[in-house]
Chain length 232, copies 2
DNA sequence: GCAAAAGTGTTTGGTCTACACCCATGA
DNA sequence: TCATGGGTGTAGACCAAACACTTTTGC
């Protein structure tokens, strides 16, 4: 996988003489792993002095933001085919000591099977969201993660975005767990099902998951595309 | 008011040799004028071949996005002290024929008295939102305006943002008009008041507006800061 | 047979909507 | 006195939350 931008190919982009800022894309990657919300973080502890960083790189001219995003995500993590959404564009005063950077932040949701199949664990770690601390991140990455989590919370409550964290076929308990672990709350089983079914969010497949004690019905989402509901 | 960036001062930022993109800020400005939602648009019909444009300019290094925003807004419209909120960062393929631009879009809300006092009407026009057409805007500015309107709708429904379109003291009818003209709907007077009061969104000042037939009570917002409610 | 997770309804309180008449003032 | 906008309450429908026991399977 080639770099879309090479920092010093034609011109020193950090030069004091250049009057325009450098732009980067930062990517907060969420997944549900073993019933818990996790982040995919760079594990280059040497480079970042024992702090975590979310994957990022500098944006190249000529390519769209989508192309830059895909290039950065795949190059830095080997992950492909994620749900992605732009969050916010921050001005980060002294990211590198070489000058500030304008960072366009995204978050991505990746199904754990897709993650495990593709990801390069020599480059990234899987870290539980509930176990991260404010001071163990470089730059303003903790702020970006918090912002991403807020957006994720909101989208969970008002859309069918949970589909991007689940396998195509899933049990209702798995769906409910996504809401409980991300929104950090207990939900009544019966009320949860009533809401989900009243919205026509998911439908039965007729198949059963026999890996649990009593076999559980398997469901799929009615809509493949992101759709606004009022879920929770 | 000085330009934070001068396009050609040190280096040709449009040069093919430069591998990083140019960043601009685009500003969608809303106000309520004579009971209707209006936009503040550049009226340089010669430069833009009889199309409208929203105020924008190129982002300068060294200054924060806030500073760049304030500089662009004031320089291009003379408007000050607005509510502003970042919307989205678009990649605009061929903004100038000189290459694409990454545009960080904002929307701003300005109280009409502030607008009238400060604005430079030789630079901008006031145009009714309901009378604009898709094909009378340059670049992707119509898309940005639509996006801004959506965000404004949402914020109206779920926050106290209406305060930024009103004078500090206002009648309930004025508040209700903001909801009706922006959300393009009729609202029952009694139900509207019940909601607003149950939320403690506004409170009486004890003063009366005697410019109407029967004098109307004047209200102020309880919170000066943006706060999330569920208004409508 | 027992442990573990799946599946299933009803009641109650609160919230939302629809709806119409009188009041205070200026002209 | 009349035209204009301001101010006020109730009843019915719908929605949301609380709550516990039975079923199916593997071990």
């Amino acid at each position: 996988m080639n770099y879309l931008i090479d920092e010093n190919k034609f011109f020193d982009i950090w030069s004091e003489k250049l009057t325009i800022p450098v732009v980067a894309i930062d990517i907060v990657i969420f997944t549900i792993y073993k019933w818990e919300l996790c982040l995919v973080l760079w594990n280059d502890k040497k480079r970042f002095k024992d702090k975590y960083a979310i994957p990022w790189w500098i944006v190249a001219k000529w390519f769209s933001l989508e192309e830059n995003f895909d290039n950065i995500l795949e190059r830095e993590t080997w992950i492909k085919w994620v749900y992605k959404e732009q969050l916010y564009t921050f001005w980060s005063p002294s990211r590198d000591g070489r000058g500030h950077v304008i960072s366009i932040s995204y978050y991505a949701l990746v199904n754990v099977n897709n993650l495990i199949t593709n990801v390069n664990f020599t480059k990234v770690d899987l870290v539980k969201y509930n176990e991260i601390n404010d001071n163990e991140f470089v730059y303003d990455h903790k702020k970006i993660i918090k912002y991403a989590k807020q957006r994720l919370d909101w989208k969970l409550e008002y859309t069918n975005i949970a589909k991007d964290l689940l396998s195509p076929y899933f049990r209702i308990a798995e769906l409910q767990n996504i809401y409980e672990t991300i929104l950090w709350t207990k939900i009544d089983k019966r009320n949860f099902q009533k809401k989900i079914f009243k919205l026509w969010l998911i439908k039965e497949t007729g198949e059963l998951d026999k890996s649990t004690n009593r076999p559980a019905k398997l469901y799929i989402f009615v809509d493949k595309e992101l759709k606004i509901y009022e879920v929770i």
